[in-house]
Symmetry: C2
Subunit: 181 residues, 2 copies
Amino acid sequence: MQQWKTLKKELILNLGRFLKVEKHTIQLPDGKILYDWPWVVSPDYVLVLPVTENKKLLLFHQTKYAVEGTSLAPVGGYLEPGEDALAAAKRELKEETGCEAAEWIRLGNCPNNGNHGGGSGNLFIALHARKVSEPIIDDLEEMELVELTLEEAEKKLMQGEVKVMGWMTMIAMGLLYLKNS
Amino acid sequence: MQQWKTLKKELILNLGRFLKVEKHTIQLPDGKILYDWPWVVSPDYVLVLPVTENKKLLLFHQTKYAVEGTSLAPVGGYLEPGEDALAAAKRELKEETGCEAAEWIRLGNCPNNGNHGGGSGNLFIALHARKVSEPIIDDLEEMELVELTLEEAEKKLMQGEVKVMGWMTMIAMGLLYLKNS
C-alpha cells in the first residue's frame, strides 16, 4: 500500500499558536490529484496516566470547554515549542499533581485526526508516582485531583464518565497495560 | 464546578462540509472573558468494532493521510447530514465489510478535542457480525480486511500498530469491554 503524497501546502488561516489552517494538494497512489484538502495545524500534546506505589491512578474531575458537565481526565497539556514529549510529560505531571515518577512507559504517539491533522498526542504511563511538591495549576479549567483503583477507573470509563477522545484513549490503553503487567 | 459560557460565535473560515472555523467569545466561571477562542466545526463520525460469532475482530490494514505507513483500523466514517449515529454505524459496517450485526453496544460519544472542537466520535461494538453481502468500498484509501483474535489485536495495539487517536480508543475500549463480557 502506498501513502498519499503532499504536492503543495498553502497557509490560509493563522490564529496563532493554537490553530492554523492549510490547504493541501495531494496525489493519490493512482495518480489522481485532490485539491483544497483542509489541514489543521495545532500543537502536539502529552497525556499522562500516573500510577502510585499502591497502584492507584491519579486523575482529575474537571470541566473542559467542549465537554458537557464534568469529565474524568488524565494529566495532560501542550508541548512547549521545541520541547521533547517525555520532558513535557514530566513537566505536566509535576505541575498538575506535584508528583515525580520513577518509571515511564511510552504507549503511543498518534495524530488526533487521521484525515485533517490537528496535532498528535503522546501517551505515557508514569509508574511509582510520588508527591514531591505542591501542584501549580495554571490551567483555566476548574479541576479536582482524585485517586482511584484500577477497578473504579475502569467502571467510570465504561460508564461514559471520560468525555474527551484522547482522555478515553489514555485511560483505556493504561488499563490494558496495567492489567497485563 | 461550572462550565464555560459561550457568549458569541463568529464564522471566520468556511471550507465546506469538512472544515469550518469559528472564533468564540467565552465567559469563565470567575467572570473573565476570553476573546478569539478558535473552534473547529467538522462532521461527527462513527467508529465500529465488529466481532464475529467466533469472537474474531474485523479490522483493516490501511493507509490514511495523517499516518506514516499503514495502520490497523476499525470500521468508521462520517455521519451523513441529519443521520443518527447508530444508523451511520450500521451503514458503515455494511458498506465496509458487507456485514450485519445482531447486537449493538454503545461505548461512548465524545469530542475529538476538548478545547477546540472538530467533531465528536460515536463508538460502537457490533456483536455477532456476519457477512450478508460484498463490501462497497468507496473510501479513497487502500484498505485490506483482516480477522484477528482478541489477543492478536491487543498485541498489535500495544505495539503501536494503531496510529490514529480515535482508532486506538475504539480498539482499546472494545477490548476492555470484551474481556469483561
